[in-house]
């Protein structure tokens, strides 16, 4: 066991590679939150009147709400007045092409493994990069435009496609949905906007990288993806932040809308700074993600690899409204040291013959707490609805915790629903079996852990971009699929 323990140690004590800080001149609002700050954000973004009203309404609702306490995570109070709600790398004018983007910034992305140029040629992934609060570069715009796909930053979308924004923004996650969604609605500064027109299969993977750089800022991005009838899009997001002693807040909202026969595949590789071994610093990741399968036979699939953040509070959900719509949730959540994750999904079955699949793998090490919290709700109208849920947890070390809190509510007798959960450590039997076949203890452990969450696990070292492309390329076979 000594050798295998060592290999586990090695795995556990990886350094946080993206932990550097880029010294850029930034245009940052002073910390604090009030209506003037919201007006300032809206003005800086040159937003139309309806957006400002929308933000203020959300802010007023937020004031009446309380921070949720039900998650299995513990942290000190967040000082919402101590955060700066807007920070942008200073630029005289908005960059018109990649050549005009600050080289320091491009360098940052290169360090992270997102060579924007290289990407154009090699990977063929269109990237929208969001630095602190604003989107700095979007690649492949022309090629996408030729297909009719709109892929731009949220602020551009508000300028150029206000009718789409007005129609869909907040239609899946209403501004007052929950405490963090309301906060986000009030102060969100940027994010990605994707519109796939009718019958279009998006010619390439779309991808966004989020980076928190400045100190004492929060990041509040908002992503909206609309897939019109018969369209398909695959979208990947990745996130990193510098290492700091204080906690930083990240409260994002993601809304997906899939109309008839449309399919959205949304993948996340979340590697925000998790804090140090003693639990100092790290990102508070409070995210609301929800997909609405509005059309018949529509499909929304969430895949997430959660390795970072001091605290994760995140439940990517699917509302299966259209008949025969499909919702999927595949998750690998790794917590280590003092990290705490409370994550899972909600599948709300409304339409007939809707199906959902939930595969959740939690790995907990050190003194971390890892919880799966999920809801499968089958309404009376959801005839022949079908759900399969599997949540497995692996414990590494005797001071960590792994918890499962599933909620199952069924109001339709023709529904069929199965839920399974297991928790275990790597068993001596499994180790012995591998070793007696000639594998070293080290290989055996890595093989078992890899097998535990097969295809997603190998992406954990977070060599972004090209690997991320590979992540999407891997077919969801075996347990995940």
């Amino acid at each position: 066991m000594a050798a295998s323990a060592k290999s586990l140690e090695k795995f556990i004590h990886k350094d946080y590679k993206p932990g550097f800080f880029t010294d850029l001149e930034a245009d940052t609002l002073p910390p604090g939150l009030n209506e003037d700050v919201i007006r300032a954000i809206s003005m800086k973004k040159n937003e139309p009147e309806f957006m400002l009203e929308w933000r203020l309404e959300a802010y007023r609702r937020w004031l009446t709400m309380e921070e949720p306490q039900w998650a299995y995570v513990h942290y000190g109070p967040v000082d919402y007045q101590g955060i700066s709600y807007y920070s942008a790398p200073k630029a005289k004018e908005a960059p018109k092409s990649l050549d005009e983007v600050d080289p320091k910034l491009l360098d940052t992305y290169n360090k992270l493994g997102i060579p924007l140029y290289e990407q154009e040629r090699l990977a063929g992934v269109a990237v929208d990069a969001v630095f602190d609060s604003v989107s700095v570069a979007t690649t492949f715009k022309d090629k996408l435009a030729a297909a009719g796909v709109i892929f731009c930053s949220m602020s551009e979308a508000i300028q150029n496609h206000p009718e789409l924004v007005k129609q869909y923004l907040g239609s899946v996650v209403p501004p007052a949905d929950n405490f963090f969604a309301a906060l986000n609605s009030a102060v969100f500064s940027d994010g990605s906007f994707v519109y796939i027109p009718k019958g279009v299969r998006c010619p390439m993977e779309l991808s966004t990288y989020f980076r928190i750089n400045a100190a004492k800022t929060g990041q509040f991005e908002r992503t909206l993806i609309i897939a019109e009838e018969g369209s398909y899009v695959s979208y990947l997001e990745g996130c990193t932040a510098p290492m700091r002693d204080e906690n930083q807040l990240h409260a994002a909202v993601v809304e997906l809308v899939a109309l008839d026969n449309a399919e959205i595949k949304y993948s996340t590789v979340q590697n925000w700074y998790p804090g140090d071994e003693e639990g100092r610093g790290g990102i508070y990741n409070f995210v609301t993600k929800r997909g609405d399968c509005r059309g018949r036979k529509s499909k929304i699939s969430w895949t997430q690899v959660e390795t970072g953040s001091a605290i994760t509070w995140k439940y990517p959900s699917c509302i299966l409204r259209g008949d025969e719509s499909v919702g999927e949730f595949y998750s690998v959540a790794v917590t280590n040291h003092c990290q705490q994750a409370d994550t899972g999904t909600k599948m709300i079955h409304i339409g007939k013959n809707t199906t959902s699949t939930i595969i959740s793998k939690g790995i907990s090490a050190g003194r971390a707490q890892n919880s799966y919290r999920g809801l499968v709700k089958i309404l009376k109208s959801a005839e022949n609805a079908r759900n399969y849920t599997q949540c497995d947890s692996l414990l590494i070390g005797d001071q960590c915790g792994a918890h499962t809190f599933p909620y199952i509510e069924v109001k339709q007798p023709s529904a069929r629903l199965e839920h399974e959960a297991t928790t275990s450590k790597i068993s001596q039997d499994q180790l012995f079996f591998c070793q007696q076949r000639g594998l070293s203890a080290e290989d055996a452990v890595s093989m078992i852990v890899n097998g535990f969450c097969k295809q997603v696990f190998k992406e954990l070292p977070m060599e972004f971009a090209v690997e991320a492309q590979a992540l999407l390329g891997i077919s969801l076979e075996g347990s995940v699929g």
Partner: protein, 433 residues
């Protein structure tokens, strides 16, 4: 008029008023109930069960001596081979109870025990239930009228099961009971709690049972809840198992309009706990079962298996929680909840939870919700059984797998008859079973 005023008038009827320790507990319970009331669905543990209908009414406890109870009803549920304590409307009915042959001092009504040997009651009263401070528990602490004190001394094996029969007879009646079961080292006992009612009016039964199992003690505890269709019921069973103690608990819930049962146990080193249960939420019933197993020490084993059926406008709620504490290495815990949802207006809510703080453990849970296998229904139909009977037969078979685990046989047959009564078209003759 509220409960506090009502009980002030009845104060002389509440037992143990001369005991300071009990008086203090009663007052604390009363204060907690007065401020918090019954739990609301805003509390996570009561999310699926709204007890507002109970809150709206003021149920009245029996004033004096226990009422007469219809003999035939009582005898239908009395097990021939068991000792029995009978409580009518929450008051001990000596003339109806059968205690002849019981070893001296092993079983006493709680009111009597508080007079004769208060130190015995003090040793066990509200020691475990104190951890479960919600409105119902506080309510029973403040206002309990009677109960049973079962204290099995070390090494003794009670040869016959002991049945506690609760009969509710009065409209809008209130029975509040506290039972104490203490089984000392190497001793063994079997206890059956039966809850029935006569008449058709609504009433409320609130009972809390505390179970202390000493080292290597064994207890088989069965709760059979067949209250009437308009009855409200709360039952809390809270246990603590010392090293190597064994608890087998079986819970069958067939009656009541709104009934909630909580079964909690704390497992010591190498303890074993087996929980089985079946609920049948037919008609307009709302049946809620909450279980909580805390593995506090290493090497304990727990097995939990629940089945539920919701039909008509019924609603079945199951919440099972297993907590493995940091020292509880080598824990082996399994939980399963299988549910049949048989009608458009019925609902099943299930919440199986694992909370694990130790790494060398084996824990698993599984839940299914579905309907009858259509090919099995078709098979029976192809053999000439009509569809309704076929469905009832299969439903009976699904439930009967749990009932088969019940011992003794006489009780098993009682539960089977109750089950068949709820499925009238099953076309199964009792003598086949």
């Amino acid at each position: 008029m509220n409960y506090a005023e009502q009980f002030r008038q009845l104060a002389p009827l509440l037992p143990g008023r001369h005991l300071d320790w009990l008086e203090a507990l009663r007052r604390a319970g009363e204060a907690r109930f007065a401020t918090g009331g019954f739990p609301s669905p805003r509390e996570e543990e009561w999310k699926y069960t709204n007890v507002a209908p109970i809150e709206k009414k003021l149920f009245k406890p029996a004033a004096g001596e226990s009422a007469r109870v219809d003999k035939a009803t009582l005898e239908r549920y009395r097990l021939p081979e068991a000792w029995s304590l009978v409580f009518v409307d929450g008051v001990y009915a000596k003339d109806r109870s059968i205690t002849a042959g019981l070893p001296e001092g092993v079983v006493l009504p709680l009111a009597e025990a508080l007079e004769r040997s208060p130190e015995q009651a003090e040793a066990f009263f509200h020691k475990i239930a104190a951890r479960e401070e919600h409105g119902f528990v506080a309510f029973t602490t403040a206002y309990f009228r009677d109960g049973a004190l079962i204290h099995v001394p070390a090494g003794l094996r009670l040869e016959k099961p002991l049945q506690i029969i609760h009969v509710a007879t009065r409209p809008d009646g209130l029975s509040v009971l506290r039972h104490l079961i203490a089984v000392e080292r190497n001793a063994e006992a079997r206890v059956i709690e039966t809850y029935i009612g006569t008449g058709s009016a609504s009433y409320l039964t609130a009972a809390v049972t505390e179970i202390h199992l000493d080292e290597n003690a064994g207890l088989e505890h069965i709760k059979l809840q067949i209250e009437t269709d308009k009855a409200y019921h709360f039952g809390g069973i809270y246990a603590e198992q010392a090293r190597s103690a064994r608890l087998r608990q079986h819970h069958a819930a067939f009656g009541g309009l709104l009934a909630r049962t909580e079964i909690h146990s704390e497992l010591g080193h190498g303890a074993e706990c087996e929980l089985d249960g079946l609920f049948l939420a037919t008609g307009r019933r709302h049946l809620d079962t909450h279980t909580l197993l805390r593995h506090r020490a290493p090497q304990a084993i727990s097995r939990e298996s629940y089945r539920g059926i919701a039909a008509g406008r019924g609603r079945g709620v199951f919440s099972g929680r297993i907590v493995v504490h940091q020292d509880a290495q080598k824990t082996d815990a399994e939980m399963s909840s299988r549910n049949l949802l048989l009608s458009e207006d019925a609902e099943i809510d299930s919440k199986p939870q694992l909370e694990i703080h130790a790494d060398d453990v084996k824990c698993a849970h599984g839940v299914t919700v579905g309907q009858l296998d259509s090919s099995a229904v078709f098979y029976l139909q192809s053999r000439g059984v009509d569809e309704l009977s076929a469905r009832n037969m299969l439903t009976f078979a699904f439930a009967n797998e749990m009932v088969e685990k019940i011992r003794p046989d006489s009780l098993k047959h009682q539960v089977q008859s109750a089950l068949l009564a709820a499925l009238p078209q099953a076309d199964i003759r009792e003598d086949w079973l």
